[in-house]
Symmetry: C2
Subunit: 405 residues, 2 copies
């Protein structure tokens, strides 16, 4: 299917090299450039857990993701604005993308949507409650103090503007996997109306930052196409994010992402929301995704799991398991991270089992080094026109570290 529109955009994004559908490029923001394809680590709570902002930059990341919902709740966007905005607040001087808050707000509303979208177990924390979902927006109780709060498209834009985001995401409803076609169609329509309200607020308030619409449409090809076309035809956008339920397994996910991509104009940059498994990254980049954020590398680290070049183990090494107990090996041969440079699996096994903070930090450094190396390798491969071979090598476990890894 041909791109639905070819709207002229200010050149915030420029493709530099192509290899099949994959491309390298550069996104220009008020706080500098992002080399794409890019992985965007989560600084949901104004910090990449256990790291300083400067350390994240040193790992090779150009952009982090701030969480609109969480920062709205604590410490509050006005507070951050008073302190000079999110960049200054967290001492991160490079680009920041902020999600819209929709995913979190609807995770509450739909019960276990976050887990369902991600195919995980339902949350057990009881969590906060949604009081009402309406055309206007969502009323809910703060998980911090039980106070009643509201978030709608305008709130989301206001928060993201107060944070000083470089890449603002439209407020969307993130439909759960169990939604039927009819609900998904109506919800996607509402997401489109909310997009217009976001655009309107941004125009009225002369809001800064690049602006991304979010493609919804669930697991329905026609809805994904229609949504992609509608978003791409919206004058004010600088790019597109792909969100919502991407299906029940990796195969369906790739298919659904493909539907969105095939309906998007080539010139617009594409952010794939919440995807970060090694094989998913390799496939998404191969399909033309420009950047993606995901909690997985940092969350796995907090649970004692390191990323390794082992497809059969889903690229995961749980160091708390017995095989690491007496291993003098590093997590990964050839990995330049501090964990691999200085420490054995045995030490990390012990630290993780003893719930020592040092384990979280070391595994976070390792996993983010692993992903940075992976993505750098993907960029190089595209530039050099050898993406297919490189992708196959990574998927076979021969990467991201050099042979012998």
């Amino acid at each position: 299917m041909a791109p639905a529109s070819a709207v002229q955009r200010p050149a915030a994004f420029a493709v530099e090299h192509r290899d099949g559908a994959a491309r390298t490029g550069v996104l220009r923001t008020a706080h500098g450039e992002v080399r794409t394809p890019a992985f965007v680590p989560l600084a949901s709570h104004a910090t990449v857990r256990s790291l300083q902002a400067g350390e994240v930059a040193e790992l090779g990341y150009d952009m982090v993701l701030g969480n609109t919902f969480h920062l709205f709740i604590q410490p509050g966007h006005e507070h951050i604005a008073e302190l000079g905005g999110l960049h200054e607040f967290m001492a991160w001087h490079d680009p920041i993308v902020t999600d819209s808050g929709g995913f979190q707000v609807f995770s509450m509303g739909h019960g276990s949507v976050a887990e369902e979208v991600k195919r995980r177990n339902p949350r057990r924390d009881g969590g906060p409650n949604v009081l009402e979902i309406a055309e206007e927006g969502v009323r809910f109780r703060s998980y911090l103090d039980g106070s009643e709060r509201f978030m709608g498209p305008e709130t989301s834009m206001e928060i993201q503007a107060a944070l000083g985001s470089d890449v603002v995401l439209a407020f969307d409803e993130c439909t759960p996997f169990h939604s039927d076609r009819d609900y998904t169609a109506r919800s996607t329509e509402r997401t489109h109306r909310w997009l217009d309200r976001c655009v309107e607020w941004r125009a009225e308030h002369d809001a800064g930052g690049l602006f991304l619409g979010i493609v919804q449409g669930g697991v329905h090809r026609d809805l994904r196409h229609a949504s992609a076309e509608r978003i791409a035809a919206t004058e004010a956008i600088d790019g597109v994010a792909i969100g919502g339920s991407l299906g029940q397994d990796k195969e369906e996910m790739r298919e659904v992402v493909g539907w969105a991509l095939e309906a998007l104009p080539d010139a617009l940059p594409r952010h794939l929301l919440g995807i970060g498994d090694v094989d998913d990254v390799v496939h998404a980049v191969g399909a033309g995704v420009d950047w993606f954020d995901c909690a997985t590398p940092t969350r796995l680290a907090r649970h004692g799991t390191a990323l390794v070049s082992d497809p059969e183990a889903r690229w995961r090494l749980d160091v708390t398991r017995p095989p690491s107990r007496s291993s003098r090996e590093p997590l990964a041969q050839g990995c330049p991270c501090p964990a691999c440079r200085d420490h054995t699996r045995a030490y990390l096994h012990y630290l993780a089992r003893a719930k020592e903070l040092t384990a979280v930090r070391l595994l976070t450094l390792h996993n983010l080094t692993f992903i940075a190396t992976l993505v750098e390798g993907l960029r190089d491969a595209i530039r050099e026109g050898r993406y297919a071979e490189h992708a196959a090598a990574v998927l076979a476990g021969r990467g991201p570290y050099a042979a012998g890894a």
Copy 2:
């Protein structure tokens, strides 16, 4: 009172400069030298929480303290020995002092001894249980798995030898503050008998590392004198630690430490156990203490409190309190730590209240930088013969950072 003995020792410790009772020196161990006076950060669980070993060395520390009791329970000293010893296990290549396990084991036995000795609230965790305290040693239940364990002088020596400790502490009973004179006298006698058993085990097993006896005697001058003399007269020791209950307030503590010091020969190095408040450090060094370990700097960090040059606030700044909420100041002007270099109190306030690991790490880095700077300043002042003025300046809040701090 004159030193009780002047036993010839191998020159493990050499005094370099003196200023009144204060002295600088150097302790020579199998893993290098320790410049004294020295603060010894706690790596109780084979890590200084949230830091890598190499980072602790970079902060200017020459030695860390490993916890015999905790490492006995998890992961076990045999396991660490199989992996090459504690230095290799935790990738710390400089000197390690290990406590004897006595303090922890008797903290369990005497209920709240740890908190009482430190004048804190009784523990509320229920904790592990001591089954029997006898001449042979102590039987107790592991807090990890409830299994029955035993520790006596020989066990403690065996564990410390397996860890590869550079500075081994004798197994002692740490009497609680509420003990009467009679109990304390009998307990101190037993500690002395245990010292002999430690010496015997070390001789039989040709154990390495320097060896320190521990002066007990509670808050009784004659018992402290007698204990100091008995320890100092023990042929096999390389130094002395001052332990046990040091009284109910800072004044009594200084008096009790003074009693121990006045009965010790000048040539022996002195480790003051578990003391680390700024004023206590300044007084102890002035009285002739050579090194000291303490949980305070790192524990305060975990609870959101930074060390600052403010005697009226007991050198503490609780960043979780309202005054830090919107402060763009660093924790301390002139402090070279990453927290002060890059971040505002407002950011640390937020991180600490949000229970973010980054707060623990940044405050740990700050507090250990503060103490390292303090102790370096004390060493310089002794060398330059101006300890009294320098101590007065620090105690008045004009240090450890330069004026304007």
